[in-house]
C-alpha cells in the first residue's frame, strides 16, 4: 500500500469532529492536531489505485476545507509488485 502524509484543513469549529472521525477511519494510520487551529496532519494508507478516491472521500467530509498532499511513497508497492496499480476510470461530471 502507498503511504501519504496529508494536511487536512478544516473550519475551526469542526476541527475536533473531523479529528475524531479521522482517528477511527480505517485508512488513516494516525492523525495529529497541528499548532494552527483548523489544521490536522495525518498518514493515509491505501493502494495506489485507490489513493485518489481516498483524497476525494476525505475532501467531501463535512467541515473539511481541503486536503493537501505533502508526502507520497509507493516504495512497498513497487518492491512487491514491480508496478503501481491503475485506479478505475470514472467519467467526471459537472452539473449543467
Amino acid at each position: 500500500m502507498a503511504i501519504a502524509g496529508i494536511l487536512v484543513q478544516t473550519d475551526t469549529e469542526t476541527a475536533e469532529a473531523v479529528w475524531t472521525r479521522l482517528s477511527v477511519d480505517p485508512h488513516i494510520a494516525e492523525v495529529h492536531r497541528a499548532e494552527v487551529p483548523g489544521r490536522l496532519v495525518a498518514v493515509l494508507e491505501a493502494d495506489s489505485d485507490r489513493m485518489e478516491q481516498e483524497f476525494k472521500r476525505l475532501a467531501a467530509w463535512d467541515g473539511v476545507l481541503s486536503i493537501d498532499l505533502a508526502y507520497l511513497t509507493y516504495e512497498d508497492e513497487l518492491a512487491d509488485g514491480g508496478t503501481i496499480k491503475c485506479p478505475p476510470w470514472e467519467r467526471k461530471h459537472r452539473s449543467a
Partner: protein, 755 residues
C-alpha cells in the same frame, strides 16, 4: 529505537505534513534512523512555473519517493502532479538511444552517439556553408535547464552567428515580458510569492490558478481562510474552480478585458481612489505611440471606458466594474495574478500594461502584498529563456540584439571580435516555422519541447515540418512526443534530476536541481551533447570550454555581474545549501531580493537614491502608464462561426502529457480531450453531456465529446490541449501580438454541432 521500514515511512509522511504546516524542518531523529538509510536529494518540480521545491528519495540508486521541500517557498506542499513525478522518472517509456531516419519519411532506427553527432554537425555545417547562418535555427524550451538554454543560445548566436534562437516561452510568456519591459523597463515581477501572505485583495485575471498553479492557489485560499476581510476578484469568461472562492467573479466576453480594466481605472479616478502622491512622482503617462502625456490626457482617454460603455462591450453588469475597482483600490494591499488568458492574445502586451496601470494609478505597488505578478507556465521559462536571453531578439541578462552597445558587451564577455553577433534579430517562433516551410531554414535543433503538438494552426506547422529539404533534430526524452513524427534525428537526453542544473521560477528564485539518479544507459546530459555538437560543427572550442553544467553556470553568473539581473552571489555551493535564492543577489553574503525597485530592498537601487522607488530600467526612472485602447481579437465570431473558442488546461495534465500521461492515476482522471459547453448553448443545439460533437473553425475540425456545465459563459466553448490524439491546436489561428509575437491561443471563432 527499533522500527520497521514501514513505520519509518509513516513517520516520514507525518513529518512532511507537519513541516508543511509549521514550516519547521524535519525532526533530526528522522535522519538518525539507521534502518536502511534513504538519501534525499534536493530539486525542483519538473512541471509548472510555481517552482515547488522537492526532495527526491533515493534507495540503491533508484528514485522511490518524493516530498515537498519544507525549506522552499512551497513549505513542503506539492500538487498531485508533482507528488506523482517518480513514476514518470522511472517510466520505461524513454528514448534511450539516438535514432535517425535513413530516408525522409522512413522509420527511426537506433544509431550510436558518434554517428548521431557527426550527422547533426554535418547537416548544420552544410546548411551554413551553402545558404548562410540564417538557414539554421535552435528552438528551445522553458523546461531546459538554465545552463542548457544559455549554452545553446551562445553556440548559435556567437558560434554559428545566427540569431534564429527562439523557444516555447514565446508561446506563453512573451507578452508578459513585453508588458514588464514597456511598463517598468525591465522584465520579471517585482515581488515574490510571499506577497500572497500579505495581500488583502487578489485580482486574478486570465488565470485558472486552481488547475494551472495549484500550490499557489492553495496559498491564496489559505490567506483568505486565515484573514478576515481578504477579497478575491476573478475575471474570467469561464467559471472555473478558481472562481469558486471569489467574492466577485466577472465573466466578461472574451477579449474585452482591456475595456474592463480601463473602466476600472476610470472608476478609481472618478471616485478619487487614485494615489496622486504616487503617480505624481513615479509615473510617466504615455499615449499608445509612446508620446509623453499628462494625467489629464489619461482622464480624457478613459472617458470612452465609462462603466456603462465598458459594461456594454464586456457584456457584464455595470455594477461589477464599480465593485472591482473599489475593492482593488481601497484594499490595504492588492496583488494581481494573471497567466495565459492575458498573455496569449494579439493584444497581450497591452493587456499586461493595463494590469500594471491599475497598480500604478492606485499606488498598489512596490510594497508587501501590493504587486502585479505574472504567473509563469513552465518551470524555467524565466531563468533559462527570458533571463539567459534565449529568444531571437535577446542577449543574456536583459540585453537586446538591436542595441549595438549590448552586442559589444556580449562580444567582449564572450571573447569575440567586434561585429561577430549579427545585428538582425532572428525569427520568432511562428515565423521560424514558416521559414522552415518555405525552405529558408534548412536545419533546426529542437530541444525539450513539442512544437508539432503545441504550435497554433498546426496543419500549417506539420506541413512546414515535412519540407523535403529540411533537417530536424530533436532532443527529447519521451518517444510519444508528436514532434518525433517529424524528426530526422533524435537525441536521447538525461531527464530532470538525472543531471544537475538550475531552474528559475516565476518569483525570480533560482534553485538547483541536484543529480539524484543516473540516466538510463544511452542517455546523456544535454550540456554535453551541445558542447560536442558545437565542436564538431566548427564552433571555436574556446566558446564551449565547459566540462559540465556547473562550468556553464560559473560563466553565466559572471555575465550577470553589473546588470540588473546580477546573481553573481549564487555560487553553485551556495545553491546546493539553499532552497533557491531570489535575484538580484550580487554577492555571496546577499540574502536575495524580495522587492525590486525599492530603496533599501533592491541592491540595484543606490542606497542614497533621493526617491524611495526607482524604476531603473526606464530612462527617466519612472514607470510608464500606457493608454492602450480596447481592441478585439484577431478573429471574432460571425454568422458562420458564431461561438468563441478558447483553449484551457486541466489539473491532471501538464502541457502535452508526455509526462503526466505516464502516470496511471492522472491519465485515468482525464484520459482524453473534450469540448466544454454551456448548458443553455447545449440545450439550444440539442447537445447532451457526452455526445460526440464536431468543433469546427476556419482551419480544421475535430470530433470531441461534450462536457455540458455552467463553467463556460454562453457563446463560449473550451478545449484542453493535452491530448495527442486530438490535436486541438489545429483549430486555432497563428495571429500574433505585434510587439511580443505571442500567438492568440485564447480566442478564435468556431461552430459546434452534434456529430
Amino acid at each position: 529505537m527499533e522500527c520497521s521500514r514501514r513505520d519509518f515511512l509513516r513517520y516520514m509522511a507525518l513529518s512532511a505534513a507537519l513541516a508543511a504546516v509549521s514550516g519547521a524542518p524535519l525532526p533530526a531523529s528522522a535522519a538518525r534512523q539507521d534502518d536502511k538509510p534513504d538519501t534525499w536529494v534536493k530539486g525542483v518540480c519538473r512541471y509548472c512555473g510555481t517552482g515547488c521545491g522537492v526532495l527526491v528519495g533515493v534507495k540503491n540508486g533508484k528514485a522511490v519517493a518524493i516530498k515537498g521541500d519544507p525549506d522552499n517557498h512551497n513549505k513542503g506542499l506539492l500538487c498531485l502532479k508533482g507528488a506523482l513525478l517518480i513514476p514518470v522518472l522511472n517510466s520505461p517509456d524513454r528514448v534511450t538511444s539516438p535514432m535517425a531516419r535513413k530516408t525522409k519519411g522512413g522509420p527511426l532506427e537506433p544509431i550510436g552517439w558518434d554517428e548521431a553527432l557527426d550527422l547533426l554537425a554535418k547537416k548544420f555545417r552544410t546548411a551554413i556553408d551553402t545558404h548562410g547562418p540564417k538557414s539554421v535555427a535552435y528552438y528551445g524550451s522553458g523546461q531546459c535547464l538554465t545552463e542548457e538554454s544559455y549554452l545553446a543560445s551562445k553556440i548559435f548566436k556567437a558560434g554559428l552567428r545566427t540569431n534564429n534562437v527562439d523557444g516555447n516561452p514565446r508561446l506563453c510568456m512573451a507578452s508578459a515580458v513585453g508588458g514588464y519591459v514597456t511598463s517598468f523597463g525591465k522584465d520579471e515581477p517585482m515581488g515574490t510569492y510571499e506577497d500572497i501572505d500579505q495581500a488583502s485583495c487578489f485580482f486574478i485575471i486570465g488565470s485558472n490558478t486552481s488547475e494551472a498553479h495549484p500550490v499557489l492557489f492553495r496559498r491564496i485560499a489559505r490567506r483568505k481562510q486565515a484573514t478576515p476581510g481578504v477579497k478575491i476578484i476573478v475575471a474570467d469568461p469561464r467559471r472555473t474552480n478558481t472562481s469558486r472562492i471569489a467574492d466577485l467573479h466577472i465573466a466578461f466576453r472574451p477579449g474585452t478585458d482591456l475595456a474592463l480594466m480601463n473602466s476600472m481605472a476610470w472608476v478609481m479616478i472618478h471616485e478619487e481612489l487614485d494615489n496622486a502622491r504616487f503617480w505624481g512622482k513615479y509615473v510617466a503617462f504615455k499615449d499608445n505611440e509612446g508620446k509623453d502625456c499628462t494625467f489629464d490626457d489619461y482622464k480624457a482617454f478613459l472617458e470612452d471606458y465609462r462603466p456603462e460603455k465598458a459594461a456594454a462591450i464586456c457584456h457584464i453588469p455595470e455594477e461589477q466594474i464599480w465593485q472591482a475597482a473599489r475593492l482593488f483600490a481601497e484594499s490595504p494591499a492588492t496583488m494581481s495574478l494573471w497567466c495565459m488568458g492575458i498573455n496569449q492574445r494579439v493584444r497581450g502586451v497591452w493587456a499586461n500594461n493595463l494590469i500594471h496601470n491599475l497598480h500604478l494609478i492606485s499606488g498598489q505597488i512596490c510594497r508587501p502584498g501590493a504587486t502585479s505578478f505574472s504567473l509563469t507556465g513552465q518551470p524555467n521559462a524565466c531563468g533559462g529563456v527570458r533571463d539567459a536571453g534565449a529568444l531571437s531578439h535577446l542577449l543574456p541578462a536583459g540585453r537586446v540584439i538591436a542595441n549595438p552597445k549590448h552586442r559589444a558587451e556580449m562580444e567582449q564577455l564572450w571573447g569575440l571580435p567586434e561585429g561577430t553577433i549579427s545585428p538582425d534579430p532572428g525569427y520568432h517562433t511562428v515565423a521560424l516555422f514558416e521559414a522552415l516551410g518555405k525552405g529558408d531554414v534548412k536545419a533546426m535543433l529542437i530541444c525539450e519541447t513539442n512544437p508539432a503538438h503545441t504550435l497554433p494552426n498546426l496543419n500549417k506547422v506539420h506541413k512546414a515540418m515535412s519540407h523535403p529539404d529540411s533537417f530536424i533534430a530533436v532532443i527529447e526524452a519521451f518517444p510519444d512526443a508528436v514532434t518525433l513524427r517529424y524528426a530526422d534525428l533524435v537525441l536521447a537526453p538525461a531527464f530532470w534530476c538525472e543531471r544537475d542544473g538550475v531552474y528559475g521560477c516565476g518569483e525570480r528564485r533560482y534553485a538547483l536541481i541536484e543529480k539524484a539518479v543516473e540516466p538510463p544507459q544511452g542517455c546523456r546530459p544535454t550540456v554535453n551533447t551541445l558542447v560536442e555538437f558545437a565542436k564538431r560543427v566548427g564552433v571555436d572550442p574556446k566558446l564551449v570550454n565547459f566540462r559540465n553544467a556547473a562550468d556553464v553556470w560559473e560563466e553565466w553568473r559572471t555575465v550577470s555581474k553589473g546588470t540588473t539581473y546580477n546573481f553573481y552571489g549564487m555560487t553553485r555551493e551556495r545553491l546546493r545549501k539553499e532552497s533557491g535564492l531570489i535575484w538580484p543577489c550580487p554577492d555571496e553574503k546577499h540574502p536575495g531580493t524580495r522587492l525590486r525597485y525599492v530603496r533599501g530592498e533592491d541592491p540595484i537601487v543606490p542606497a542614497d537614491h533621493p526617491d524611495k522607488f526607482f524604476f531603473y530600467g526606464r530612462p527617466d526612472g519612472k514607470a510608464a502608464l500606457w493608454m492602450r485602447p480596447y481592441q478585439g481579437a484577431a478573429e471574432e465570431p460571425d454568422a458562420d462561426y458564431p461561438l468563441y473558442l478558447t483553449s484551457m488546461r486541466v489539473i491532471d495534465h501538464w502541457h502535452t502529457a508526455t509526462m503526466t500521461g505516464k502516470v496511471p492515476e492522472l491519465q485515468k482522471a482525464n484520459p482524453s480531450a473534450f469540448v466544454e459547453i454551456n448548458g443553455d448553448d447545449a440545450k439550444s443545439l440539442g447537445i447532451a453531456h457526452g455526445d460526440a460533437c464536431v468543433v469546427e473553425t476556419r482551419r480544421d475540425k475535430l470530433t470531441l465529446p461534450a462536457r455540458v456545465s455552467d463553467v463556460c459563459r454562453t457563446g463560449l466553448i473550451a478545449v484542453p490541449f493535452f491530448d495527442r490524439e486530438k490535436l486541438v491546436n489545429k483549430l486555432f489561428l497563428d495571429a500574433t501580438d505585434p510587439i511580443s509575437r505571442e500567438p492568440e491561443y485564447k480566442i478564435c471563432a468556431a461552430r459546434i454541432r452534434k456529430a
